[in-house]
């Protein structure tokens, strides 16, 4: 069974592995909102990886995902892929949700 965690406009899905080509980042921030400056950030033993536009998270120990307004959630040990919220614009074109 798939496991999903939703934190505002972010969705984290458990996956088995992170692609070999993904590179380590040196930040604990998963995403920052343009209009508010608020960020989704990790606190704990976790590493964010990036491959092109796609982000992955390797959680070594239960890690908090924090945001200035959303309540914190705890990610269990494991590997996750970051998925984004989408919507249509008024003309019916798909766009990624911008916050």
């Amino acid at each position: 069974m798939e496991t999903y965690y939703r934190h505002g406009d972010l969705l984290l899905r458990r996956v088995d592995t992170i692609p070999n080509k993904a590179r380590k980042t040196n930040t604990n921030i998963l995403q920052v909102g343009e209009a508010t400056g608020h960020s989704h950030k990790l606190r704990g033993k976790a590493q964010i990886y990036e491959l092109q536009e796609q982000k992955y998270v390797q959680v070594e120990e239960p890690t908090e995902l924090l945001h200035e307004e959303h309540k914190p959630i705890v990610l269990e040990r494991g590997t996750y892929i970051l998925e984004h919220e989408r919507e249509l614009d008024i003309l019916g074109e798909i766009q990624r949700v911008q916050d």
């Binding site: 965690y5 400056g37 959303h70 959630i73 919507e87 249509l88």
Partner: protein
């Protein structure tokens, strides 16, 4: 020496006091003169083995950024690392060696993060200021409860408490930005005003916010046109629903009232889900409108979803590219 593993009731009480003290400084609108800060800056440079610099004070974050960029084109080098290293290592180690994890986390949440969250975080992030009130308040707390006694840190803290919005250190020049002259907030402490710009700088620059959401037009010609249209209710409802940024859309809808929008557009309820998702059909708009509530903030958001989806939960699952069955496997939602 044993580590501090638990805070006393007085120490717990002091956390909010220290946090508030720093937030109050950040929002104090205090003006600043070179004379007030010259000795502090000279001390910092001398501490790093550098000569006293030229000090230039700017009236707004934009003037600070542009001015700094222009002047540093002449080949100045940043000395930020030297400044940071001159106090950081000893301060950090003093706390790590003296405080247990639970106390550290508790203070980080109640002091450091609360200050970080309540200052001008939008402007901070967007314009890459290096304002340090978040981490300074964290260490200031440990100073105030007697865990930390680092003279260098105390000196820097005394300087920061004079009211610095931003500061950048270069080898011959130090660039300082004053605090805004006016800051307006809503009852939850978010930058907000529907009467005038929420942040006003001494050189006439403005930043427009509605309940913490920025409505600046653009950095170079910011007259708050969108903000003005919204507060005067001059933005047509269809344009409001079509705002690209979902937080701006949410702020605009909360200003107009979600029910008002539903009613004015004569939206027809197509489907309703007990998880708080309502799907509407609006005349002359191809996609359906999904209205949903954030489970942790209670905020109402709207998104357009495909007309072919006629079930509210399926529409919500579509937003995350999931089937309804997958959406039901959502483990935690916040």
């Amino acid at each position: 020496m044993s580590k501090l593993e638990k805070l006393s009731p007085n120490q717990i009480q002091l956390m909010s006091k220290v946090g508030d003290e720093w937030i109050n400084i950040a929002h104090s609108r205090k003006d600043l003169t070179i004379e007030e800060i010259r000795d502090d800056i000279n001390w910092i440079y001398n501490k790093c083995g550098l000569k006293s610099p030229q000090i230039i004070i700017f009236d707004s974050f934009l003037a600070h950024k542009v001015g700094t960029w222009l002047i540093t084109q002449s080949g100045l080098n940043s000395v930020w690392n030297s400044v940071w290293n001159s106090v950081w290592n000893s301060v950090g180690n003093s706390v790590w060696n003296s405080v247990g994890n639970s106390v550290e986390n508790s203070v980080r949440n109640s002091v450091g993060n609360s200050v970080w969250n309540k200052k001008l975080e939008y402007i901070e992030h967007y314009y890459f200021s290096i304002w340090s009130y978040g981490w300074e308040s964290f260490y200031d707390y440990f100073t105030q409860i007697g865990i930390l006694n680092n003279q260098d840190f105390n000196q820097i803290t005394k300087f920061s408490k004079k009211g610095i919005f931003g500061i950048v250190y270069y080898d011959k020049c130090c660039f300082v930005c004053k605090l805004p002259k006016k800051i307006l907030k809503d009852d939850q402490g978010r930058l907000h005003s529907t009467k005038e710009s929420a942040v006003q700088w001494r050189d006439g620059m403005n930043n427009y916010f509605i309940h913490g959401v920025c409505f600046d037009d653009d950095i170079w010609s910011n007259h708050g046109e969108l903000w003005r249209k919204l507060i005067k209710r001059e933005l047509p409802i269809k344009e409001t629903l079509a705002l690209k940024n979902i937080e701006q859309r949410h702020a605009a809808i909360s200003l107009y009232g979600a029910e008002q929008i539903i009613s004015e557009t004569k939206a027809e309820l197509v489907s309703k889900c007990n998880r708080g998702y309502d799907l509407y059909k609006i005349k002359d708009i191809e996609p359906h409108l999904l209205k949903y509530k954030c489970p942790s903030t209670g905020r109402i958001y709207t998104s357009f979803t495909p007309r072919s989806i006629t079930d509210a939960k399926t529409a919500m699952a579509w937003k995350y590219n999931k089937t309804v069955e997958e959406w039901d496997q959502l483990r935690i939602e916040s």
